[in-house]
Amino acid sequence: MMKKTPVTFTLNGRPTAAFADPGENLLDFLRRGVGDMTPKYGCGQGTCGACTVLIDNEPHLACITLAESAADREIRTADCLSDGPSLDPLQNSFIEHFAAQCGYCTPGMLMAARALLERNPNPRREEVIDAIAGNICRCTGYEPIVDAILDASRSYRRSAI
């Protein structure tokens, strides 16, 4: 019998508990154990960024994070962004700028961007590029994504006032 470890944490503001398999990564744990399918599996080796989630407000690659290390921490996934039909300014901006084509990279991009805009709602273009440097997009060529994040930053600035 595989020994499972109970892990309690906050997921998108809700107290959550689930059992992690030994050595299980946070991505599998969230998808299979908890049922949050928004973080995606791309590579399992930290190179694509599709699995990006926020841990205590900082972007982390869930596929190379041990699930147990999330204990007592605040995890946010792209599932936290919308409230029913009401989308986050970042999501609206991605739609307006055609920054999602196949959409596979989008949840990771959104979370990397969200971490940036929460820390710095007035980023320069180079800062946006650095913030998504760990996220690969095979469709858009990145420019629409960078434009979308810069555009959304205006809403983040307004809500910061």
Binding site: G23, N25, Q45, G46, E58, L61, T65, S69, A133, G134
Partner: protein, 262 residues
Amino acid sequence: MLEVRTYPTLAEAAENIDPGSVFMSGGTLVMIRVNYGAHGLKAIIRTTDSTLRRIDDEAGRITLGAFATMSDILAHRDLDFLGPAAMAVGGPGVRNAATVGGNLFAPHPYGDFTVALLALDARVHLSDGSAVPIEDFLRNRSGLVESVSFQRPFGDLFRFRKIGRIKPKGASVMSIAAHLGNSPGYLSNARVAYGAMGSAPMRVRAVERALEGAALNRHGIASAIESATEGLEPPTDELASSWYRREVAPVHLRRLLLGEDR
């Protein structure tokens, strides 16, 4: 069957490391091994000791706990000189987890931060209380690391560069760090280190010898540039051949020493 064993202190973790187990810090390398089958791996050993994440500066002697992350270093207002080396380690998601301790063990072409520590002549402090010069440590990389410490460099005497092909992140073709001694007018006791130019980050003694007494200008450093790859057999990998690394090393060394952009 894989198990995860978590201990309150590093010393206890050290006592419980056994064959088939691996110590884990940020896990950016260990978890890849686990994700891809972890063949032969029986246990992941961890500690929850948060003092390992400390960053101290006591009268110019800086100590970085083994669990300090690249992002911790970037966020520290008095460690600007280390910013380029910390920034060289992967993208934001990697830097939020990648630790100083783990970087000492990272295989080729990784170990960019360790290159900076070599040029700073750091000491590596182990869980048993012993301390060794980083160069000796890198010869067999064994034991659990508690922290590293080094003297704060003066002014702009410390320099670091990573040369990659994928911008803004990507593994190293090579990385170079130099601490240029502090005698006015000429170089003395300069320390130069390379990453991705051998099986582990290394000091470049031939270059250091050639810099002794040299003036810091194109003419003064000419013989150091000629010795840039003396005795080195850089590895070939998917980023660059051994030949390519040898060809570009003198150019990048010159740019680093003279502070040239290109």
